[in-house]
Subunit: 547 residues, 2 copies
């Protein structure tokens, strides 16, 4: 059986757009001789629909689209949708995350997802009832075992610790499955691609089964799906592979074990860069914007964000804004100009000094003889935030904010100032990785000025300010942050592991916890690590736990 792995970029709730893409890809699959096209999880409504799932009209529309798809599809296909499901005595939500096999104008088989992820950014137990049983379906020459995303992430041979007691794959294998299908909406995180192929290989080998894995591609809000769909033969070889971060269709023949291999960036830094580009492009476009604004300080963060934006949207859709203040160095102003020039984007310069003076003069009667402190630093950052928002309002562009994860973690950023914007492009990128991205961006030619990369990081909000006046060096800070936030290690464990002073680690951990109030009001950011700030990390503000 020739199976087409059809990965496309759905927009949440865009039923007309999503089904148009499904029909077009099915047509292509048919023309290329496929017997079956496989699409991704919840592809009719797009993933992550969140509380749209509470609206009955949303569910009804998705069911109507499923029916119409069945009637119109050029060939049999497996699609993901929100289906009605049996309830126990009328209890439960009555809906499930489902796969449908559409053939001959109708739905011939349905399978609900059994393992509902409810951790990190996933909250499927909030909405869905799980499958109570897993069934194979005989189709053509094969006995298909259809699973949905998390259903394959629980293999007892692969994971030292498993989340779920049941294993849908084993249950399907027991029923004589000849091809294991998995439809996914599995967001990109660093190093997940390698983990995924290892995990799928383990299943293929231990069960001696070919696997067809089809993943969503594209960004929806904070999540970036990499696609990278693939088929593995029963000896664990990747026989078919789709491109990453773009719509694609590749064929896999279950009879011969042959398939098409499309290229992907091999290095993780290139892959992460592509994720950020895709996430930026999709967020801007799916929010109905074309044009964006980036405040260019001359520092590395804003330079990297501008480069990503240009790659995502085109130089003509990115406006750089230099907003020099009383503590901006000549070097920074020159670096901002250089990066704009290198990227071929327009740069506007709007100084903040006159407005800053007006704030200080107006506030003087209230502040009296009190010395300048963080207040005046924040006013400068907020004037810049206001400028960008004013340009956004006047010209209909989206502000891309430029803070990195290390700053956001410890609150080294200004609410409504540098935190202002529609999308925080690198808010899940640790500072050291920002440097890696800068070097990657500069590989072909120098985009980000060498001076920007080499100078010590500074917010330039007071004379001679350096990040290291307030924070440990980033090679120390980033290790503490990863261990504390992503790996949930205690300060003692972190101090022991790296030989850092316990007092320092405790201070940083407390800063992270106490800065939650800022992050609650941060612009949505693109997730690329195993644990990003934002909706996947609900954390109380008014709490007093000492880590």
């Amino acid at each position: 059986m020739k199976i087409a792995l059809a990965q496309f970029n759905p927009t949440v709730g865009d039923f007309a757009g999503n089904t148009t893409r499904i029909l077009a890809l099915a047509q292509r699959a048919k023309e290329r001789g496929a017997d079956l096209a496989v699409f991704s999880e919840l592809c009719i409504c797009g993933y992550l629909p969140q509380d749209l799932l509470e609206r009955p009209a949303f569910i009804e529309r998705n069911l109507k689209e499923l029916k119409q798809l069945a009637a119109k599809l050029a060939l049999p296909a497996i699609v993901g949708f929100v289906g009605k499901t049996k309830t126990k005595n009328g209890t439960g939500s009555g809906i499930a995350n489902k796969a449908a096999l559409l053939s001959g104008g109708k739905v011939v088989f349905e399978q609900s997802k059994m393992l509902l992820p409810t951790y990190d950014v996933f909250d499927e137990s909030r909405y869905f009832q799980p499958a109570t049983e897993q069934k194979t379906f005989e189709f053509g020459s094969e006995k298909l075992g259809i699973t949905i995303c998390e259903d394959v992430w629980n293999d007892k041979n692969f994971w030292a610790v498993r989340r779920y007691d049941r294993d849908p794959v084993t249950e399907l294998v027991g029923q004589g499955t000849t091809v294991l299908i998995n439809i996914s909406a599995s967001p990109y995180t660093i190093d997940k691609r390698a983990l995924r192929v290892d995990m799928l290989r383990s299943i293929a080998l231990s069960h001696q089964l070919p696997i067809v894995y089809v993943n969503q591609v594209g960004g929806n809000d904070s999540l970036i799906f990499d696609g990278a769909s693939e088929a593995l033969t029963l000896d664990g070889k990747v026989a078919a592979q789709a491109a990453a971060f773009e719509e694609d269709l590749v064929l896999f023949d279950t009879a011969t074990g042959q398939g098409e291999i499309h290229g992907q960036p091999p290095e993780e830094i290139a892959y992460a860069y592509r994720a950020l580009v895709q996430g930026t492009r999709d967020y801007v476009h799916k929010c109905r914007f074309e044009k964006t604004l980036v405040g260019l300080s001359g520092g590395i963060d804003s330079a990297v964000v501008a480069a990503i934006a240009v790659d995502a949207l085109g130089a003509e859709n990115v406006l750089g804004v230099s907003m020099p203040g009383p503590f901006s160095s000549q070097g920074s102003k020159a670096d901002a100009q250089a990066v704009a020039q290198n990227l071929g984007i327009e740069l506007k310069t709007i100084p903040i000094s006159a407005v800053f003076d007006a704030y200080r003069a107006t506030l003087k009667p209230v502040f009296g003889a009190r010395k300048p402190d963080v207040t005046e630093e924040n006013i400068q950052a907020r004037i810049r935030g206001n400028y960008l928002m004013a340009l956004s309002n006047k010209f209909g562009s989206m502000v891309l904010s430029t803070g990195n994860k290390s700053e956001l973690a410890v609150g080294y950023c200004t609410l409504y100032g540098d935190m202002a914007g529609g999308l925080a492009v690198i808010s899940d990128v640790p500072k050291l990785m920002v440097y890696e991205l800068a070097k990657f961006i500069n590989r072909q030619k120098e985009i980000i000025p060498r001076a920007t990369i080499e100078k010590p990081p500074s917010a330039e909000l007071r004379a001679n300010q350096k990040d290291e006046d307030s924070l440990p060096p980033y090679d120390v800070l980033d290790r503490i942050l990863k261990a504390y936030i992503e790996d949930l290690r205690s300060p003692q464990e972190i101090a022991d592991k790296y030989g850092f002073e316990l007092k320092l680690v405790r201070e940083i951990a407390l800063l992270v916890d106490r800065s939650e109030y800022k992050r609650k009001q941060a612009a949505p950011g693109l997730k690329i690590t195993s644990r990003a700030f934002g909706f996947g990390r609900p954390f109380p503000i008014a709490q007093r736990f000492i880590p």
Copy 2:
């Protein structure tokens, strides 16, 4: 058996503070002759701990506190804590939301929560494993059936539609329970108090059982717990009742069916007002602030917020800030002064015109000949936001933002402007209810000037602006919003129900959905309705569903 219903105000993660309160209340219960003290759900760590539950050190600390409590308690007690639980073959989180009966220096009985709420603000399936069975425990003269919060919210005689297939209460009754205990952390929402007593009465009557219900009191982040613990006799009479919104201890005698009744505000508007006062006080104090700032525009929203803040924190801890601009009316300036005077709070006046002029002059070269539009309106709002934040930074006060739910729903508010602040006191209060609160506040004497209540609402950001230029009248808008947001009705259903034009309802529904990007960056707000914006309503931004 004399049971003490011991409701107190825990702070999330404040283990030392929480156990100190538990021990003090237990001592009081002992002195008053109680045989058993009952505390609320997760009282050792405080509710809602969210992702603190992912930290092993948090769990360990809570277990250590439980052990110490057992050793120190003056009398037997039931407390809520996070317990270890059996896993199936090592799968699952291994922790449960538990009640412990402490007696004779040790834990003599543990019961896990069976029904884990995973909807609205609750995400307990994210963290906990459910009880697989429910057991009674013989203690003194009684057979205790111990349930935790949601466990009693699933009575088949009371609910037309039930969420869960199992009913822990019925299972306990089948084992001969003589007293049903429920320990809760059940947040206040409008009209929930009446629902709760009806629901408990239904259980008491249908099972012919006395019920002891102990609820958490106080605010933690967005949630406000009303306490209002109560005991019902088997004939459904409320025999014991604790106060609302304050720590309290009342006794109930299972032998005689007698108990103490402490008063509660009878009217719902008074109860809601108390909720907002408590929520404000606790958020400010638990975030380690004493002093607050309120921008007083002369409008009703800021007047109501200032009145709540004064009640919560004392007049000496509330600073009013009048920030007149080019479109502020004389009436509004006078009204701001009047409300400050009536409340006995200091008022500072900081005009925005000079700074506004500086912004316009600086931006003129960029804006060219473009006409003033929403950009200039937003700049004014953002200057005010910046002033408040500058005062906050300089003097260490928390900004209380003043937007109401109706505005926030349709995006009739400025990001980083009037939306700026540490706590959004009335962001879950619909505009019409803001008027009700104002009238309630004015009952004893006029606090909020009559002119403030009677004038048509206006943002005063351009000449002759009125809310009704952009929005339908609030008595129309608020009905649409409640039906759409809280009751999940479709525009068609809403138009049919109220006789509104379908086109208007659709426009409002779309405005609600399209304003999600603003709300994602809103200050945390106090929840008082069945569905507040914020973490209990995860909603995608870049989505295209047409409601």
